[in-house]
Symmetry: C2
DNA sequence: TTGAAAGCGCTAACAC
DNA sequence: GTGTTAGCGCTTTCAA
């Protein structure tokens, strides 16, 4: 591997000139530039970015903490992050945490050893270990799609989760449903609570209320959606409509409902959240809330970049709009 | 951020001793070790890995080129890569290429600027730009889940694709199917050709042959599966069974078949490939080929590591076993 | 067992 | 416009 000295030697200039030619060509004379570039070519020179980064004290990499990379919603968010990162000359380090604190701490720790200039946390936990908290205070971090529990020090890029849940409640109510079930995500998650609150709020606005027995806990997985539906549909009070807090759980729920001999939506309406691509291909296709996943990723990265560069943020909270997509899995209540 | 000099000063030893204490504690006396570790603690010192890596000339990162991160099969492969990478002290840089050469070249190029010590290519294209080929020759790379077209310089971790397709053909034949349709992946892909050949081979073994009119081209996406099924099911000869070369296309195909008023599997059997989690939750659940995705990722990373370290490989070709999972989407032919 | 010092490849301040 | 050089934080050889 040839280095900058080699190129300097070949072109008969100093290493500083080579460096300048590469970073800011305007600052060297055309003749010199040409000679240097020719030497670069001949030497097959590629700058050692490890050295450049070290020299500049930055890694130009960001660590993305994702609870579950197999979730297509997060895949889309990551795509958005990656595109924006590439535009800005950053690379993306992937940390699939499975929602486990030990993994989060491991990956978050990479920002403390200068392997990443900043963090994007897609989960709701403060990712650093307690013992690292002091050091971590100066690490640029943004939260996307979630909010870190009881910690408003970090900028957030999120959906209007409450509004989305309200819209979904309204959708059900307009279809005549009154016995509404919910399969939530993990209750530690602030956005799960937002959705729950929004849903409830809308019900109350219509003189209804959420029956606590019809709220079951899920984990954003296909199988937990199936389990949740099983609980709801075999309970003493059977809901006529079920709101699952992500599409995977909704797909699991539809599967389970059918397994129990019910028709969707004739016997029970089921809706999801996220609008992952699979949701168009279920039978029936899934009513859901569209989240602008890529945009969320992009905003998160752009926000993080500003923090890294010490630029001021217009706002520490970016709330993106949702869209309710009504498809075949919800219909008028047939009670 | 405190550095190694600060720790040296605090503990009254040289930076060399601090370095040794951290990398190989046995080589310093117990008393010194204790003092140094105490100073590390007090200073809140974390080694700057950017500097360490630069000094060692390695990034301890690998770049993973993935054609489509939203494909759950690849997510699982990446999980396997990441776990293995973590075990080996490596980090994972993500390069979502969308199958586009320009993206591949961009990300692959990062290995030429020392940002990655090696590459894992999950697609079938030689990822470097032509002009980089000379330099790239010394870049450690392994191919997983795919084989680079006409290039056997790189180790491969793959499935017994031909065997899997044979098994699927046998499955159909045993169920009495004779008019067999296929929705392939991109034909440039060697593994697609392997599967096609394997399928055909098995048919011939039973005195049958593949009707070229029943082979349509897909792109491993939900919508291309639906399109493929549409072509097949509306053609002059309608197959009684369709083999889709991944689960997403199969899910698209099932959706399309139902849309056209057909019952699956009563009117047409449909099978997939990969055994992604969604395949258990379709209606009917999907007959498919299970690929050990995480294991493939792990092996790829372990193999790459050996190349990076200059260790000999036992074999440059690792072929992993498949398993045919028969579910509800295939049944006896009802012609 | 420990310390002094060179060096990894690049950038940038400073001098000309 | 260009060159000289210090320095980024660490590892590692060489001496002691």
């Amino acid at each position: 591997m040839s280095n900058i000295r080699e190129v300097a030697r070949r072109s008969g200039v100093s290493v500083a000139t080579v460096s300048r030619t590469l970073k800011d060509p305007q600052r060297v004379s055309p003749q010199t530039r040409e000679r240097v570039l020719k030497a670069v070519e001949e030497a097959g020179y590629r700058p050692n970015l490890l050295a450049r980064n070290f020299s500049s004290g930055k890694s130009f990499a960001v660590m993305v903490l994702v609870p579950n990379i197999a979730n297509p919603f997060f895949s889309k968010v990551i795509r958005g992050i990656e595109k924006a990162a590439q535009d800005q000359g950053y690379s993306v380090l992937l940390g699939d945490t499975k929602g486990e604190p030990t993994h989060e701490q491991f990956y978050a720790g990479m920002a403390l050893t200068n392997q990443a200039d900043g963090l994007i946390q897609l989960d709701s936990r403060y990712p650093f270990a307690d013992k690292d908290a002091a050091l971590a205070a100066s690490v640029p971090m943004v939260n996307a799609c979630e909010r870190i529990v009881e910690d408003d020090r970090y900028p957030v890029v999120e959906l209007d989760n409450s509004g989305a849940a309200q819209a979904m409640a309204r959708h059900f109510i307009e279809l005549g449903h009154r016995r509404l079930g919910i399969v939530t995500g993990p209750l530690e998650s602030p956005i799960v609570r937002d959705r729950l609150a929004g849903f409830d709020e809308e019900l109350q606005r219509h003189g209804l209320e959420l029956n606590p027995n019809l709220v079951v806990n899920g984990e954003f997985t296909l199988s937990s959606g199936a389990e949740g539906a099983h609980k709801l549909l075999s309970g003493p009070i059977v809901p006529s409509a079920i709101f699952c807090m992500n599409d995977e759980m909704a797909i699991g729920a539809i599967h389970q409902a059918k397994k129990m001999g019910l028709q969707v939506p004739a016997d029970v309406s089921i809706a999801g959240f996220d609008n992952i691509e699979f949701s168009q291909f279920t039978d029936p296709s899934l009513t859901t809330i569209d989240q602008p996943a890529e945009t969320m990723g992009r905003y998160a990265m752009e926000t993080l970049r500003k923090i890294i560069d010490g630029k001021p943020l217009k706002s520490s909270r970016t709330i993106l709009p949702f869209e309710l997509i009504a498809r075949g899995s919800t219909s008028r209540c047939h009670d």
